[in-house]
Subunit: 247 residues, 2 copies
């Protein structure tokens, strides 16, 4: 019976992506603090689309070309030359509805392009903000899955692993999981699930320390809160938009 279930893998760092077959899988891009949380929230709040780009220079160039909002961060702060940062609170409905964002971030947007370069045909965006929507979709599609963590400059991080674990806990009965990284992620989430924020604080997660040193505990709290959104961002024709029929 297990043979009929599709495989699910967790990739804990972009530097390990080559180990997984992304071309025949749904690839879930995970960058909890904060790219994928912000993308999900901006689309929920009515953004028309989000164009993920690799570099600040390209962000500025495309932003001018199509008169879009330029947004992004490097090392957790607004990148020089861009208008906005990578906080979900910067994109309320009153500001973002109907608009296009061009976004570049330290880890998340880079990983998305790596997955494309490796032949990924279906890329979706996962965050605690849209946890249940992602899980429902993966179960419905019944295809192989790679949970791809953006990590921090290729170093494995706690928050992306926790989200992978949260997904695994919800979908594991529907998948064949022969992947130690997935077991590690699920164990982490099981440990942390009673209070993700406290867990991050107690474990001195490196990104918790980085963002809280900028006074961004509010962002961390929001990005760890499940199901504030029911949109499923997916990548098509160079941009991220809401999957039709999901909301």
């Amino acid at each position: 019976m297990d043979k009929k279930k599709p495989q699910l893998y967790t990739c804990l760092s972009p530097a390990l992506l080559h180990l997984y077959d992304v071309s025949d899988s749904i690839v879930v891009i995970i960058d909890i603090l904060r790219a994928t949380s912000t993308i999900t929230t901006a689309l929920k709040n009515g953004a028309k689309s989000i164009i993920p780009v690799d570099s600040v220079a390209e962000c500025i160039r495309i932003g001018k070309q199509i008169a879009a909002i330029t947004a992004g961060e490097r090392d957790g702060q607004i990148a020089e030359g861009l208008q906005y940062g990578n906080s979900p609170f910067e994109y309320p409905e009153s500001f973002v509805a109907g608009k296009t964002l061009v976004l570049t971030t330290t880890n998340g947007t880079k990983l998305l392009h790596m997955a494309l370069d490796r032949g990924a045909k279906e890329i979706i965006i996962g965050s605690f903000c849209n946890l249940d929507t992602v899980c429902d979709y993966l179960i419905k599609k019944n295809k192989p899955v790679v949970l791809a963590c953006a990590a921090w400059k290729d170093r494995v991080n706690i928050e992306d692993s926790l989200f992978a674990g949260a997904v695994i806990k919800k979908v594991k009965e529907q998948f064949t999981i022969n992947c130690d990284a997935s077991q590690i992620a699920e164990t982490m989430f099981t440990n942390a699930s009673s209070d993700l924020f406290e867990f991050m604080k107690e474990k001195e997660a490196s990104h918790y320390k980085r963002l809280s040193s900028f006074g961004l505990e509010k962002d961390i709290m929001f990005c760890l809160t499940p199901n504030t959104s029911n949109v499923l961002p997916f990548y098509t024709d160079g941009k991220l938009i809401k999957k039709p029929g999901i909301i």
Copy 2:
């Protein structure tokens, strides 16, 4: 006060080794199933030295040249052309005392050479077999540490992470740990510590499944048993020998 404590990092896969400065650290090579457990046990049982090599061909060549025992595995089984495998039970005192082994394994010996290529000057071998000896040494030396997991063909594995976590639990007060991978390893070990074997079985660790399918539960059990040995294997002049003054 923390500033005086040396840094400790955990590298969960050889494919992430480039992220860490191994040249100025004590590098602990970890390949629990089974290379580092076997190396530790063979030296404890009186082997003169162990020459770790990358390939089966080199193993055979050097074995002939110096009339040493050729040993090693590929994919968990004795590699073709070699005399012995990678089980600690193959190297009792009655067989191995005074002898030299030339050893090649899928992951552990490769990682050791990667660390050398990256400029590591002090390489020691860690396994549950010599857990306390490794920890005592790291505390005594008071230098930066990289706990380097051999993983499985670059995929993060449970057993090497568990050992890294066991070390961290014992030494963490003496080190500065700003490393999510270390927190993940320690959380895993804390979850598993009451019964490592049962944990590996319950989590369907990929290497547990691989070795138990060959009837090697006895090896797994032994490799997860702490402190059966008090030797500290270290690398010098192309070979692994017992650190003098430790036993």
